[in-house]
């Protein structure tokens, strides 16, 4: 299609140009009125330009417009960027926020979402003291080793136990949630495009009512940030849903912010250490780099500034 249209336009332009050449030749050779030829030239030029612009416009019209595989609704609203402090290069997690976030997870999210990669021992020295973590672990029951009769008894949790799952398995989770599986949140910040911003926006972005004309399947809720806008999870965070022990007002966005930071910690528990080590490495690395440049210049300075002088030996016998 492109080739054909291009060819055609070329031919037309060529014809016009030929005509122009002919007329100008004729004008030059014959002594007819000179006012006639510039007019024709102008006409030819205008026509050629019109054809060129027209063909370009036609081509753009055919192939130039952007194509989207999905409608904006299917794509989901891109999350707004928030200035997370813990995402700065030299900032650790705010551990007070992590502690609040864990509280939100524990009191709200954990009724549907597992956090299966986090053991209680991971919380020690991050959000809780040893004794607090032990106390929390002991609230749950876990399978113990088989006893003398081969029966598996329950025992209270230990620090090395992982946070308990709300459901026995994925099928049970689906059955309890209208067919939708609440995903495990351990790596959720890493697993979703947009990371922290996405989760924060998702949690706080439920509008009062869906925009008019939206049709959702049964049991789904409208959330602009969720791809497809129909999400099985209803809005869960409301003001004063939890009571923070440090007195922070538990607004919806405060809880969302804290729990997102906590989930980011769950996905990247090594972040604090990693950034600290990164800073140390960069300082040493840049010092060594500067040193290496200095050494290079030091070594090359005499070579780069040398002057080679060639004095031809004076021949004993004069000229040949």
């Amino acid at each position: 299609m492109l080739a054909r249209s291009a060819l055609r336009s070329k031919r037309t332009v060529g014809a016009v140009r030929n005509g122009a050449v002919h007329t100008s030749k004729r004008a030059a050779s014959s002594s007819s009125s000179s006012a006639d030829s510039p007019f024709r030239l102008n006409m030819a030029g205008t026509a050629a330009t019109a054809v060129a612009i027209g063909s370009m416009a036609w081509y753009y019209h055919l192939y130039g417009s952007e194509l989207h595989a999905m409608t904006p609704a299917e794509e989901g609203l891109h999350p707004a960027k928030y200035p997370w402090v813990h995402e700065q290069y030299l900032k650790t997690f705010d551990h007070q926020a992590l502690r609040r976030g864990f509280q939100v997870y524990r009191e709200v999210c954990s009724s549907c979402h597992s956090l299966s990669r986090i053991p209680y021992r991971a919380l020690v020295g991050v959000t809780h003291t040893v004794d607090e973590a032990k106390a929390m672990a002991e609230e749950n029951e876990y399978d113990s080793e088989p006893n003398d009769e081969g029966e598996i008894e329950k025992r209270p949790g230990k620090l090395s136990d992982y946070l308990p799952n709300p459901y026995k398995n994925d099928e049970a989770a689906r059955a309890a949630n209208n067919g939708a599986l609440p995903p495990d949140l351990s790596l959720m910040v890493k697993a979703r495009h947009g990371g922290c911003n996405y989760i924060f926006n998702l949690l706080t972005g439920y509008p009062e009512e869906a925009p008019p004309g939206v049709k959702l399947a049964d049991g789904l809720n409208f959330n602009p940030y969720f791809p497809g806008t129909g999400i099985a999870m209803a809005r869960v965070l409301y003001n004063e849903l939890v009571e923070y022990e440090d007195g922070t007002p538990a607004t919806t966005s405060q809880m969302a912010k804290d729990v997102v930071e906590f989930l980011n910690w769950a996905a990247e528990p090594e972040m604090d250490q990693r950034k600290k080590m990164g800073m140390k490495v960069l300082i040493i690395g840049s010092a060594l780099f500067a040193l290496s440049i200095w050494v290079k210049r030091y070594k090359w300075a005499p070579i780069k500034t040398r002057k080679i002088v060639y004095n031809p030996p004076i021949q004993a016998g004069g000229k040949h």
């Binding site: 004309g213 939206v214 003001n239 607004t251 405060q254």
Partner: protein
């Protein structure tokens, strides 16, 4: 600090303790250095408590809806389009001529543009308000 801890642990007369209760006491003493940080946190708290006395209001909603953002100049085109769309789509139910070209129209796209504008505008304000 880390090195001396290691050194101490390696010395023959030192005792190993599983949960390091001794260290805890030491750190408590250190906390006097950190009193500055706690002070700054205390400064923030009273402001927030003032808000708490009223009906607790979500700052995100406040910035996006109640105060400027959704009504701001930057978002006015988006708001205008959304309102127009709402009128067009809901108008069909109220006996107005139905848009035959797009009978299934919804306002998701317009809503997206408005929501994007409002959240983006409120984002820095919200982060200043949150702890």
């Amino acid at each position: 600090m880390g090195f001396f801890d290691m050194l101490e642990a390696a010395l023959p007369w030192s005792t190993a303790e599983a949960e390091a209760p001794k260290e805890e006491e030491e750190k408590e003493e250190e906390s006097s250095e950190e009193s500055k940080d706690e002070g700054s946190e205390d400064k923030e708290e009273p402001e927030e408590e003032e808000e708490e006395e009223e009906e607790l209001e979500d700052p995100k909603e406040k910035f996006e809806e109640v105060t400027e953002c959704k009504e701001s100049k930057a978002c006015s085109p988006a708001k205008h389009h959304y309102d127009e769309c709402v009128e067009r789509v809901t108008g069909a139910d109220h006996g107005k001529p139905v848009d035959k070209k797009h009978p299934e129209e919804d306002c998701v796209e317009e809503f997206f543009h408005l929501a994007h504008c409002a959240t983006q505008c409120a984002a820095p304000k919200l982060w200043n308000a949150l702890k």
